[in-house]
Symmetry: C2
Subunit: 339 residues, 2 copies
Amino acid sequence: MRHLRLIPKPKQGELALLTRIRDRAAKVPKRGLRLGIGDDCALVQPKQNEELAVTTDLSIAGRHFRLDWHSPDAVGHRTLARGLSDLAAMGARPLAAFLSLGLPSNLARPKGPQPAWIDRFLDGFLALAEKYDTPLAGGDLAESSLAVADIVLVGAVPRGKALLRCGAKPGDLVYVTGALGGAAAGLAQLDKKARKSRPRSDSTDLNDSLARHLYPQPRIVQGLFLLRRNLATAALDLSDGLSTDLAHLCSESGVGVAIDSASLPIHPAATMQQALHGGEDYELIFTAHPHARLPRAIAGVPISCIGRIVPRRRARTQITLLTAAGSQPLEPAGWEHFS
Amino acid sequence: MRHLRLIPKPKQGELALLTRIRDRAAKVPKRGLRLGIGDDCALVQPKQNEELAVTTDLSIAGRHFRLDWHSPDAVGHRTLARGLSDLAAMGARPLAAFLSLGLPSNLARPKGPQPAWIDRFLDGFLALAEKYDTPLAGGDLAESSLAVADIVLVGAVPRGKALLRCGAKPGDLVYVTGALGGAAAGLAQLDKKARKSRPRSDSTDLNDSLARHLYPQPRIVQGLFLLRRNLATAALDLSDGLSTDLAHLCSESGVGVAIDSASLPIHPAATMQQALHGGEDYELIFTAHPHARLPRAIAGVPISCIGRIVPRRRARTQITLLTAAGSQPLEPAGWEHFS
């Protein structure tokens, strides 16, 4: 028997919950999805000459979110945003999302007149799904002592055109979308609030940084733009922090990089450290040929040139930070599990 | 910052672990996979006129497996088998697997001279992956107080040909592959062992039932056979138990079903109750036109006719069990979460 149970139980909760999710998910349009929730698998239909980009991201209570810090709709939004951001980094068009949820049973039940945690989670999840035409096509549900959410995104890209991490060449310029460190500044605020220390101020910048942490915006439109115009030689998304993600880029492309600290688009509420090492901004970092003509903004999101790809060095660290005081190696110091 | 951490940490464990997984995964051939572990997404390339089947299954310690009952390689095997079985039920050819793992840090570390739990998990996972030409194409890793594994399988089917749950018609005959209840009998054995009660005997049947629980065999070859020969009008896999899975079939096809208890291929170590309601056999249940000629076995696995599809009734339960004592409604009594 599937779940370590030796005596059969009458059926109630899970099917009712699945039906509720299926009904709510049905409201997002399903272009590339031929069959959604309800069978053994969903069926996804790319166009001719397209291939499929697939990514998974695991979110765990106490690690990626805290039930006492994050509202359920922010957890739902962030869960989906992580996956969409990976598609954006490939220049992929979202086709379908799959969600595996493990939840303590109290999060699946309404609290008196209040909707259940899972319904508010779905509010955040499905609002973002609708914004990016991403139907919820399937997933799994299980009771769990710890809340966990694994998100799977399937997207489509023209064959052979996906933006990869491995295409950066010495001489290419390095760009980022939007601002850096906002999400980290927002998280620091949540931490202060939890420790009941006085907030710095109720400024617009701080509110914006909190929004960037709670409701990050995946750069789907910007990724599609870069792919269609053939502008980027390599791309990835900023999830672990600029220093760590630049190290991934260098390692996959076999290059080094020199970053000009003065040109970093630091979020007004963030410190330089947060901009360099804070994760979860979900901006895109990409490289382009030095003669490529990049717009100043794509769909309202600013594009900043922050440095240049250089030949691979023998040094342990491939990232150099240029400051007014001279140049220094920049060690990857973003997040890593099991460290 | 991604993981609720306010101060950057130096990098060590996760990248080393990822490299180890990537190296081990590289040994499985990658036909339909154009890009595997290492970028923001993997790239999967179906053939022309194919669509993609996608499924996810969440396994949680204490729910779907127990660290004190199941060896790590059995947990790895079972994790992948669940996903492959969903592909089998659609008649899909596996293209790629994605694995999200949340693990307590001690399971990621070697125990003295012993390999780490995660390496033994990968032994079981990758052995089954190799058997079914299923490359591990990506996933996610996180530290977690509770061990969780979410498996994603992507497979290919000729467009419009997938075996669905919704095609059964009154008059169709109902078939199952293999034997029923073996996995439930195996689980009951593990439970007895844990409670230190004396095992019934060390018979071959009991050993086989234990193997069916610990190392279930997904019916990929049988699903592909049914699809290619156009034999099945509907299909699904037996994961939650015959009674519950038959109810899914009835509900999706809008029909009822009459099962002949005398024709059920009950595993020699199993009881009738285990055959009717025990889950995790991962056999296929499918329907076929009454004139369709089914072989007695497909690739060595017996095929048994166990009943017939009937028109939908007004009754709450759509399943009738025919026994020597007469006919009776069969309530779905397999596993359900949040019940």
